[in-house]
Symmetry: C2
Subunit: 316 residues, 2 copies
């Protein structure tokens, strides 16, 4: 018996873009969109809506900006019920770049925010909601949030924010099931009028387990990426979510095909997944930044020294 309210959002291109400067070509993104559409995925997040005044299009690929024209080149001619989502970071978007919903191929805008920036996130969400978009707030680095500050943040979201969904984002891949359970229950208890979502990172191979845990405790929005593609250790593999969910509208086959045809060769060019330095930052509840730098150095397999360098940074 399936829970119809569960929605699956694929963020392969958006989170994967954090590895390659958001530089996926149109052909590849179309293949992803086509497969997700056939698989019955509810949303596809295609990138960030960043201001070109802050970032140069010469340095980054098109999915750092997500111009409506580029999105149209991806979706044109493909039959689909999959809605397009884009992500926005606090302080990096020019709200005037965003057309009203009725004039844009985008259906959903997700605002990523740390707890400390929640006022700015609420301002953005309400602006986009007024323009007609479905909206979410994605609370990043939630494993580092102090409980009283998180309570205040959730209270504020419930009272002041028009977002339909509030996401728990395990940015560092540091959560275990018990912490996931605690956070989802806490969010559900405060956010009476909203849905709760889960975005997991896979540093400790717990992205799928934590996503299931969130579903058990009534999170209804879950993020996945094809073959787990995503920054550093990557995300919850979409194919595993599809294997788990029982809603007959989902079909795992197009995603299996997509992995066969596109992602096995991609993995030879881009690095993500279960790699020990990312496991270490997950265990230590740290941003993977240092591990990503290590993987680009000659010491990439020197795990003990890396571990010691992180646990050595102890301050009173």
């Amino acid at each position: 018996m399936f829970r119809e309210k569960i929605k699956v959002l694929d963020c392969t291109i958006r989170d994967g873009g954090l590895i390659n400067g958001h530089d996926f070509d149109i052909r590849f993104v179309r293949e992803v969109y086509k497969a997700l559409s056939e698989a019955g995925i509810d949303y596809m997040e295609i990138g960030y809506k960043n201001s070109k005044r802050l970032f140069s299009p010469k340095e980054y690929g098109k999915w750092k900006f997500c111009e409506d024209e580029d999105i149209k080149r991806v979706i044109d001619g493909i039959e689909s019920k999959t809605k397009i989502a884009v992500m926005v970071d606090v302080d990096r978007v020019d709200v005037d770049d965003v057309l009203p919903r009725k004039d844009s191929p985008v259906a959903m805008i997700r605002v990523a925010s740390y707890v400390k920036d929640i006022d700015k996130a609420i301002y953005l969400v309400n602006h986009f909601a007024d323009k007609g978009y479905e909206t979410t707030v994605n609370i990043m680095a939630i494993s580092r949030a102090l409980d009283n500050e998180l309570t205040e943040c959730l209270d504020q979201l419930e009272k002041e924010c028009k977002a339909g969904v509030i996401y728990i984002v395990d940015s560092f891949g540091a959560l275990y099931q018990e912490t996931t359970e605690f956070l989802v229950k806490k969010a559900k208890s405060i956010l009476k009028s909203k849905e709760v979502g889960m975005h997991a990172h896979n540093n400790q191979q717990l992205a799928f387990g934590n996503t299931i845990e969130a579903i058990i405790h009534n999170a209804n929005y879950v993020d996945g990426t094809v073959y787990g593609l995503g920054r550093a250790a990557g995300n919850c593999p979409l194919e595993l979510i599809l294997g788990f969910l029982k809603n007959p509208k989902f079909d795992i086959r197009p995603v299996l095909d997509l992995i066969s045809k596109e992602f096995i060769t991609l993995r030879e060019k881009m690095e993500w997944g279960y790699i020990i330095p990312y496991a270490i930052t997950g265990i230590l509840d740290e941003h993977p930044r240092a591990a990503m730098a290590l993987r680009n150095s000659a010491k990439k397999e020197n795990y003990r020294e890396f571990y010691d360098s992180l646990v050595g940074e102890v301050e009173e």
Copy 2:
């Protein structure tokens, strides 16, 4: 606050041996034993104790037989509190090959058994227990066990069997947290005089999550393997267990070193881990046999056809 009763068993060489015919050289196995000893691991399972009348030493490596003399070559001269374990399969061991505990380097014998073979397993365990060994029964393919038969099996183990630990073995990597919780609670409710253990496979990236779930519900024996090495998708990564457990006797560093120095190159020669055909057999609660055959064929990346071939085998 840690739970002192939790014991960690490493089965890298035993389960990894299922990939390479148990043919690891003495130098490599010594490196593993040295690292596990420094890391504070409680047990190291080194292979199977199979009868040489049933399997030819010409066809298999030494860890399919685990002669005491070979074990001594591994452990001699290494300071260690790590106890040696071997595994035995029903109908494949010659009990007269096993010396009394006091004359052997082996401390623990684990008997792997399907539910249907539990009478044979009990006979073997009681024989080895009488010879002075610590013993366990590992109930394989438990995701396929019918509930009434599993109840009878557990009742019998509680009443007739001298094993100190009964393991839940997720042979197919098919369990989710909820099924793991159900099985561990069920086992704990019947096995009043014994400990419960968890041996997980990683087909759906749930080996670590399910191991944590088992610990939450009071399983005190957990299996891991270095870098997840093991048949097909492999097992619960030992390094993640060490990152999770809080007992100060454990040290993750020697295992990190071991992975750096030995397992990165090993992975280039042996295949294990998150590979889509193994995910598919896990999702479908099937033995990975067909997926292992696929990986040795020209169609190794043809996932959709493989999936269809398995779900097509429907019989009334």
